[in-house]
Amino acid sequence: MKPAPFTYHAPVDADEAVGLLAELGDEAKAIAGGQSLVPMLALRLASFGHLVDLRRLDELRGIERRGDDTVWIGAGTTQATVQRSDEARAAVPLLARATPFIGHFQIRSRGTVGGSLAHADSAAEYPAVALTLDAELEALSPRGRRTIPAARFLTGMWSTELADDELLTGVNFPVWKGRCGFAIEEFARRSGDFAIAGATVALRMDGDGHLDRCAIGLFGLGPTAVRARDTEAALLGSDPLEADAEEIGRSATEGLGSVPSDLHGSAPYRTRVGAAMVARAWRRAVQEALHG
């Protein structure tokens, strides 16, 4: 099908873009890469009177080291740019490793970091990565700029903390230093599909080989990506070599309230897949922390 008619706007900067969003209200939608939005428009699952295209907003693009412990990635930076970036690979390895799982390369050439986060699909990789790394999201509205921690940003399936007239402009990813390990694992029926379940693990070991930082993210297992905070807390201070990866997987996926059930898999099946993904990601992250 063809998308319903809309009025097209191509503002020249972010201030003009949020001005338009404020003026047009819920009739307007920002479009970045359009790789999730345009299919929804084409299938008439969504329709908007106005599309505000972010393509001319150069200020939203780029990957920059900011200080010693942060990498800023502009919301309009394409996933393909992240995949090619040495800076992203070195400083935010989890983000770089998550990127090839997003769609196909023809999707990543248009799809953006901010678009993936603002779209907030529960099975998408970038929201889980942002949550796992405790990233901070920058938003602009006519009222000014604010910073939103990833943990507060995701509020439900396809819904975020952003107001109608608020634009995601960039993401600050903390650079984890020391003996760290990062891994993402997901299971999908076909390469490029949204995951049936997936997991991210980021951990750091202190000089004695004990965990002093640990984050476990789950995606595809509820309305938003979530952290397995109880499991993380139980692991802090322990020796990762003594931990049982399968048990961590079970613990991380225990008590999930609203695991989806559909023709790709029942909730119990997805939960078991999620546990297996946590176990795999855990082993790989530990290996990296130990051996680089």
């Binding site: 097209y8 359009g34 345009v38 390369f105 050439s109």
Partner: protein
Amino acid sequence: MADVDTVDTIEIHVRVNGTSRRETVRPRLTLADFLRVNCGLTGTHLGCEHGVCGACTVLLDGEAVRACLVFAVQANDAEVTTVEGLTGPDGQLSTVQAAFREHHGLQCGFCTPGFVVSVTAFLAENPKPTDEEIREALTGNLCRCTGYQGIVNAVRAAADTAGTAVTEGPA
């Protein structure tokens, strides 16, 4: 098609296969329909029209994209290359096109333009791919004749012969 659009049309300028085009379009016109209808370049095929099948893949400023997921207005001031633009000036097949013909990389041919454009972009960025990388790169295009093995062989051959090829993709 009935004229149901209530909104203004927009003038865009796009370079398509090296030729400058200035057209007035409605915002909801996809780049794929722009290429097929406004430019008469029907080599870009439309299968699913929602980004799944890959038949409409074209190069937008050198990168492979789904032309059904880009509005023509978003391609303003951009450079587009379609499958028609991959051949040499005398109609000579590109390395990738020749390899598809040589290695039976197509049956009915519907998906072929999308595969050829995708593979052209893939090999431009990754000239010496492993077999696994080739298979991964092909996941974004669907072939309903189940001709994948021939396609994999064609990409392997195109990658292996690219170094000696006379014609190589778009300028």
